[in-house]
Symmetry: C2
């Protein structure tokens, strides 16, 4: 491409991001010329430092710039007896946006998937056990996606927690709000039917 080198570098950089192909990368790279220098400076500095500054929380494995993440630091206002187990840091944000949950989290590094070579010892489960023992946890809520890997992980967790003084639950799966019934896949419908509740 006959762009100045710095534009070509930007195109290549944008292309390394997920879902951004040649055309979009070109459009984004050229668009940067329209941004204010201050905006570009913040963008530039953040990119340079993101990996150096962002670590994992020592306790729950969520993203953090300190030893403990912002959520674990909220100790006083949180229900410290409940842990919600999620597969990804993004799900923590989803719960926090929702706002109806006030317990702690435990972020796994993925889900158990023997076919992909991901075994229980690879996904940060050891530290979950340790937390339950040390932190006097009363309930573990498993909030993983309804898939084979999700089910496997949920069952594995509930199995290793057997005999410990902790309630293990799983978030409900079923028909989401605001969707036309006709677009629901059969598996979801089956789960919704199975988990039906009496209309009281």
């Amino acid at each position: 491409m006959k762009y100045p080198q710095v534009i070509n570098d930007l195109i290549e950089s944008f292309k390394k991001l997920p879902g951004i192909g040649e055309k979009t990368a070109e459009r984004l790279a050229l668009f940067t010329l329209n941004l204010d220098q201050e905006v570009l400076d913040v963008f530039s500095t953040s990119l340079k430092e993101v990996k150096k500054r962002v670590k994992r929380c020592n306790r729950c494995n969520y993203l953090s710039e300190q030893e403990l993440c912002v959520i674990c630091q909220e100790n006083a206002t949180r229900d410290n007896r409940t842990i919600c187990v999620v597969e990804d840091v993004k799900i923590v944000t989803l719960f926090e946006k929702m706002g109806g949950y006030h317990g702690l989290y435990h972020v796994l590094d993925g889900l158990i998937s023997p076919l992909d070579g991901i075994n229980p010892e690879d996904i940060n489960l050891e530290s979950l056990l340790e937390r339950i023992r040390k932190e006097n946890i009363k309930e573990v809520i498993i909030a993983v996606k309804p898939s084979i890997e999700g089910e496997t992980t949920a069952r594995y967790i509930s199995k290793i927690l057997e005999g410990m003084d902790v309630v293990v639950s799983k978030i409900a799966h079923g028909v989401p709000i605001g969707i036309d019934m006709e677009y629901i896949d059969s598996l979801t419908l089956e789960m919704a039917l199975e988990d039906r509740k009496s209309v009281a």
Copy 2:
């Protein structure tokens, strides 16, 4: 959002780019954690420097880090008697990728659009006239999109070039290759019909 500050900064930065909303920005910002530090460094430096390094070519107004852009610097291998007038730097790349054009370019700063307050004097036409006078140009090919603004601009150019020793042409509009006829809009079909060629 309860992300570390540097992640929030990245999300805000990505959101300033066209076509990138909240969700995508979040996904891209988190993805940067998976990139190598060297990749992030190149990305970061390019963003910081892009506006400082990229100027416009003094002759044709294409992007350039020097006085003259790479295309104008190719003088010896180019047809220096032909100028292709385009509305945007991206169109130059499109032509260069195609490879079948070997003349020079002249990049306008948009198209004439009185309704949007864009008048002939706003779109870098004065320097086109100057080039035609000084550079002994024989043909001006107008390659703007078939729209009201494109037509207005094309007619305006051809009008101001009247009486000068230069051929003014316009790229053909019609049915593009590889598309099902049924998806062609009426205006395109009308132009394709009007510009029909005898099958010889």
